[in-house]
Structures are given as C-alpha cells and as structure tokens.
C-alpha cells in the first residue's frame, strides 16, 4: 500500500517557496534603497562623469528575476538568491582612488547604511508572502 503524502508536508513546501519569494521581494527593496541612497560624485548637478548611475539586479537559481543591471562577469549566481548592486567600470577608481585621482568614497557608506537595516526590508515581505500560504 502506497504511503499517503501528509498535508503537513505539502504545507511546508509551500511555505518554503513563500519564504524564498518573500526574500526575493525584500532584496528588490534593498537594491532600490541602495540606488536611492548612494551619491556618486559625478552625478548631476555637480559634474559630468562616467560614474553617474548605480544599478541593481536580483538573481534566483541563475536566472534574473528583478532589476535592470547586467550580471558582472565575476558574480556567481547559480544557487539561491543573489542581489548584485553597484556602479559601472570606473566606479572602483572613484571609490578607492588612483595615483592621480583622490579617493571619493561613497559606495561603502551607502552599502553600510542599507545593509545595516536589511531586516526592515526583508521581514515585511516574507510575512506578506507567508500570510498568503494556506
């Protein structure tokens, strides 16, 4: 006689999917918050430069599920959920400086500001998703 799949097991699987979806929603908000908080030195109205607009993207299981950023070559996104947020190529020279250009730190500051309060983005989204699980 075949074993019956218990309803409790089915419910747990649905909840796991809801938790992952909630995390994905929350990471979208984190990426958006980072873009709003960061202040690139070349952003208007102060000047015209190469680093003016940050971007973000969320990848789930290797597939892009949110955001508009292109995946950086070095980023590994095959498993789980990954949020990548940042600036284009010259960004690291702005952040760290070069021999002829002083450092203009702005990226790590924005990252610390957003990451420190990450739970306030994640918690409500996970709760909302779990509330819909029957």
């Amino acid at each position: 006689m075949a074993r019956r799949v218990s309803s409790r097991t089915v419910l747990n699987r649905k909840a796991l999917n809801a938790i992952a979806a909630g995390f994905a929603d929350g990471m979208e908000d984190i990426g958006q918050a980072f873009v709003e908080v960061i202040d690139p030195p070349d952003a208007t109205p102060y000047g015209e430069g190469l680093v003016t607009t940050p971007d973000w993207g969320v990848w789930g299981g290797g597939k892009k599920i949110a955001g508009t950023a292109t995946k950086p070559r070095g980023a590994t996104v095959k498993q789980g959920l990954t949020l990548v947020a940042g600036e284009g190529f010259p960004g690291r020279f702005q952040e760290f400086g070069t021999v002829n250009h002083r450092a203009q730190p702005h990226f790590v500051k924005a990252m610390d500001q957003v990451i420190e309060g990450a739970s306030r983005y994640l918690a409500p989204k996970v709760k909302a998703r779990l509330a819909r699980v029957k």
């Binding site: 690291r92 952040e95 021999v99 002829n100 002083r102 450092a103 730190p105 500051k109 610390d112 500001q113």
Partner: protein
C-alpha cells in the same frame, strides 16, 4: 571621536614583512611625491583610504572600513605586498595605541582584487580592512 586610519598605517609601516617590500612607503589618503613612477621604474608602495566609519548607536564603538591599495613592481610583487599587509592586520586581536585608541579586532574583509592603475598601468592589489575600534580614549 578617534580616527583609526593613522594607527593602522603605523601598524603596517612597522610590520617587518611589509617594510621589507615597500621600504617605508605606506601612505595615507594619497601617494607621496615620487611614489608613482612610469612603466619600467615602478616602486612598491601602499596607500590607505578610510571609506567609512559608522558608529554604533549607543556603545562607543566604530566599525571602520579602510581601503588598501598595494602597488607592486610587477603582478607578483603587488600580490606579495598585499599578502604582507593582510597578514599584518588580519584577525589581529585587541590592541591599545598611545593616543587611547583601542582596536578590538581587524580583518581583511574582501581578499585581494587584482587591478592596474589606469594612468601608469602599475599592477596593484586592492583589499578592504574592516575593524572595530573605540570612539573615545580608553586606558
């Protein structure tokens, strides 16, 4: 509020392995005159820049991020300079400096990122030190 960067700079400058490679050329904020040289005349040197140092809301502690650029005479030398700097500060426990700054712990938070200066093309390795330190003098 106490700045941790000068003390980390001193720690790197006083480290025997770092000094053997850069001969005292550990700089804060920007390279000194004569550090940056054109191709064929590269010198090894280190530049530290404080990225941020947010304070905890109540406890008198700051968690600073300091970017370290390790320039080398070639790619292997740049990595050797990075390795010496990383060994000098990674997982080093509580220490007290003469101005009252206490550093609880410091870590190489990112590992080395290989790069080259966009103007001189000198090889360099970049990493970020993350540390927890006091914001006020301690005895």
């Amino acid at each position: 509020m106490l700045d941790p960067l000068p003390k980390i700079l001193i720690e790197l400058r006083n480290d025997v392995e770092v000094d053997a490679l850069v001969d005292g050329r550990v700089r804060g904020w920007e390279p000194a005159e004569g550090d940056a040289q054109p191709f064929g005349k590269y010198k090894a040197f280190v530049v530290l820049v404080r990225l941020d140092a947010p304070r905890l809301p109540r406890a008198p502690i700051q968690q600073a991020s300091i970017a370290v650029r390790c320039y080398g005479t070639d790619k292997a030398n740049a990595y050797a300079v990075y390795a010496a700097c990383s060994d000098a500060i990674h997982n080093i426990g509580p220490r007290l400096h003469n101005n009252g700054l206490g550093i609880y712990i410091s870590h190489d938070d990112t590992g080395a990122s290989q790069d080259a200066d966009p103007v001189t093309k000198q090889p360099l390795e970049t990493f970020v030190i993350r540390l927890s330190a006091t914001t006020q003098e301690v005895a």
